[in-house]
């Protein structure tokens, strides 16, 4: 199948394809980080994760309209403002949801699945009532939509670079929070042994709420960033949820490092196969591989050793 192309062409295509895989990797990590925190650290199966992402996308939409109406001169930087507000909006909604019903369901993980699935339907209908059933178009600043030509055939999309940068920044921030801060230490203590953590004076209810809010907030930022590559509609969150769970479960639920490793494996496998096979076939093979690996290793790629 390569006979028709010159070696220079092939080289550039492999470079481009590798880069496409890296972008996909960043997208997966960004989607999955918030869920990995909530699912991994708290054991809550948050089916409404996609809807929290779309909340971020709608906030971005609103902010972009606000800027283009009132502050057109600053339109070029509205995206940063939008991402910060998305974080707090989704985080606040997350805290509210945790307070109003998730906290009563901590001992019943399957019930959280049903409750958050219901929540996702409610949120979808709210979006539909508020923003209309049609998709909305988020206008992006021009500098985000172009590409950087490296050579004649290799072109690197700027929004891809942007998502990569954002993913790295958020991953580092989460790492510092979880492993270097006092709060992170408390979170890990609660995960490992809740009664003991409470006994040494950690306010576990508060930790839970902040953890849940943080996970949702990251989902909000992800949603905001995805307005660059995807659609913004009431049900667009559903497009991401399957891939997100796939990444988190495959990586090993309780491990952030596992999430990143799994995102890397799945994205590289998928983009390589997409190139050689058709898109649908690549998806089938990816899912099959994941199923087989999970059959052999049910705890996922990385499992945390915890005394149960």
């Amino acid at each position: 199948m390569f006979a028709d192309y010159t070696s220079a062409e092939l080289l550039s295509i492999f470079a481009m394809q590798g880069f496409a895989g890296l972008i996909l990797f960043s997208v997966f990590v960004l989607m999955a980080l918030g869920l990995a925190i909530i699912f991994g650290q708290m054991g809550v199966i948050n089916m409404a994760h996609g809807e929290f992402m779309i909340l971020g996308a709608y906030v971005t939409y609103l902010i972009s309209n606000l800027f283009s109406t009132y502050l057109p001169s600053l339109f070029g930087i509205y995206f940063f403002v939008a991402m910060i507000i998305s974080f707090f909006a989704a985080g606040a909604l997350g805290a509210l949801v945790e307070w109003s019903f998730i906290r009563f369901l901590y001992q019943r993980p399957l019930d959280t699945l049903l409750a958050t699935w219901g929540l996702s339907l409610i949120l979808q209908q709210i979006y539909r009532s508020v923003f209309g059933a049609r998709e909305v178009g988020v206008t992006l600043p021009d500098w985000l939509m172009g590409s950087v030509p490296l050579t004649e055939t290799i072109e690197v999309p700027i929004n891809g670079l942007f998502v990569m940068g954002l993913t790295i920044a958020i991953a580092i921030a989460v790492y510092l929070l979880m492993y270097k801060s006092r709060w992170g230490c408390q979170v890990r203590a609660v995960v490992q042994n809740r009664p003991m953590a409470a006994a040494v004076g950690i306010n576990t209810a508060k930790i839970d709420r902040i953890t849940f809010a943080l996970g949702c907030g990251i989902a909000g930022v992800a949603g905001s960033a995805f307005t660059m590559i995807g659609s913004t509609g009431p049900t667009a969150g559903q497009l991401y949820i399957v891939d997100t769970f796939l990444v988190v479960v495959f990586g090993g639920a309780a491990s952030l490092l596992g999430t990143i490793a799994s995102a890397f494996t799945i994205s590289q496998a998928q983009s390589t196969m997409e190139f050689f096979l058709s898109g649908s076939m690549a998806k089938v093979l990816t899912l099959l591989t994941v199923v087989i690996i999970l059959m052999i290793r049910p705890q996922g790629l990385f499992a945390m050793k915890v005394r149960k």
Partner: protein, 419 residues
């Protein structure tokens, strides 16, 4: 027909406020109602929901769930048409009352609701369905209980039911003229076919491939992605590698937005037409989500664009905006949905009866000169004769019409040599 047009215009000035003209219109309506009015028993021998004053029809679309994005426009168009018909005096002197049911983007729900409309409500006609899957789900019910469905979406063809009038294009009407145009006008030699992975894009691409190969040209790639897929970088790389003259794209739903944004981000500038992009799945409705700046320069083959320059369409767009706000856009399917109630009215009046069998017998040959797309006519095979047009996507989210077939395209749901 000029009479009808005048009445329609009168009505349009009327809805913006009560005026003296409104009184005149009311008088006309009463007048025409009195002339045509016949006893309910005569025009309805099969127990449909028809009284001396009213006739009940059904509207069956998804207003919740994932398809609500697409079906909202159709619901709006059908309601507008019904409102306009009522203001003109209704059908056979009877005002149209509608019962709206929600298919909720779920095919079994469509089936259940259509049964409710036909069996419990005894509606005289149903305007509805959008996806082929929903149509296939309700088809046995319409055939069993002898209902009449007006189906608005362009679709893959390969179907012809006595109980359905297809007001959108079947596949060949959208595909053949579009490909002929890029070959003739743009000198296209190689094509890359791309689509979402389900029946409509697959069937359409099959027809496109046959036609391209018949012309002695080459398909350099054919690729399908699951519905809802959001990462198109790999296929964009393949397109860059194979360098086709034309990307023939039938991507639908949320995937559309991802595809066009990523295409632009990857440095493929559509206005340069290298490669040129021709789609049959992006109407003005979809551009709302994609953003005009991301799809500017692409071509679409449809039968209707909001920007069509004719008096019917001007009146239609004006009425639609008066009803639903200035920012609303009207896509191909919305217009096709708008034709449904008018075609039904014409068939009922030709038959002089609401009976389904008589309406069916009267339907072939029905002409509509007031259609926003221009003149249309119902074919023996229950599809519409209509023109194919090529539009160039502009930054403001509208299409500029750059080509229109001279003749009406004959609907051919079972194209020979293309299956």
């Amino acid at each position: 027909m000029t009479m009808q047009l005048k009445l329609k215009n009168l009505h349009m000035t009327g809805i913006r406020g009560i005026s003296r003209r409104w009184l005149g219109k009311a008088a006309l309506a009463i007048c025409s109602g009195w002339i045509f009015s016949a006893a309910a028993a005569d025009v309805n021998t099969t127990g449909l929901a028809v009284t001396d004053k009213e006739v009940t029809v059904g509207i069956l679309h998804s207003v919740t769930g994932t398809m609500a994005i697409s079906e909202t426009g159709s619901v709006q168009a059908e309601k507008l048409a019904i409102k306009q018909i009522n203001a003109m005096g209704g059908v056979l002197g009877r005002q149209i009352k509608f019962i709206q049911e929600d298919g909720a983007s779920d095919w079994p729900t469509f089936a259940e609701k259509s049964k409710k409309l036909l069996v419990n409500d005894k509606v005289a006609a149903v305007f509805g369905c959008w996806t082929s899957a929903s149509r296939k789900a309700v088809l046995p019910i319409f055939e069993q209980y002898n209902g009449m469905l007006y189906y608005p979406t362009f679709y893959e063809g390969l179907e012809q039911s006595p109980n359905v009038i297809y007001t959108g294009q079947e596949a060949t009407q959208q595909i053949l003229a579009g490909i002929d145009w890029v070959v003739k006008e743009k000198g296209a030699k190689t094509f890359y076919l791309l689509g979402s992975d389900y029946i409509w894009p697959r069937t359409s691409n099959k027809i496109a491939r046959k036609h391209i190969e018949k012309l002695g040209l080459k398909v350099v790639g054919e690729e399908y992605y699951p519905l809802g897929h959001t990462q198109f970088n790999s296929v964009i790389n393949k397109i860059k590698l194979t360098k086709p003259d034309v990307i023939y794209a039938i991507v639908v739903g949320g995937s559309n937005v991802a595809f066009y944004k990523q295409l632009k981000a990857a440095g493929i500038s559509l206005p340069k037409e290298k490669p040129l992009l021709l789609t049959i799945s992006v109407t003005e409705d979809e551009i709302l989500g994609i953003g005009g700046e991301n799809i500017e320069g692409a071509y679409a083959a449809m039968k209707y664009f909001q920007s069509l320059d004719n008096p019917n369409n001007k009146a239609f767009v004006e009425a639609f905006k008066a009803e639903y706000g200035d920012n609303i856009v009207i896509g191909d399917v919305t217009q096709a949905a708008y034709l449904g109630p008018w075609l039904w009215k014409a068939a009922v009046e030709k038959a002089g009866s609401f009976d389904i069998d008589k309406v069916r017998a009267a339907s072939p040959g029905i002409e509509l000169t007031t259609a926003p797309e221009g003149y249309v006519k119902v074919h023996e095979n229950h599809h519409l004769w209509s023109k194919t047009r090529i539009g160039l996507a502009l930054k403001n989210g509208q299409y500029k019409v750059v080509h229109e077939t001279e003749e009406l395209m004959e609907p051919d749901p079972f194209p020979k040599g293309y299956q």
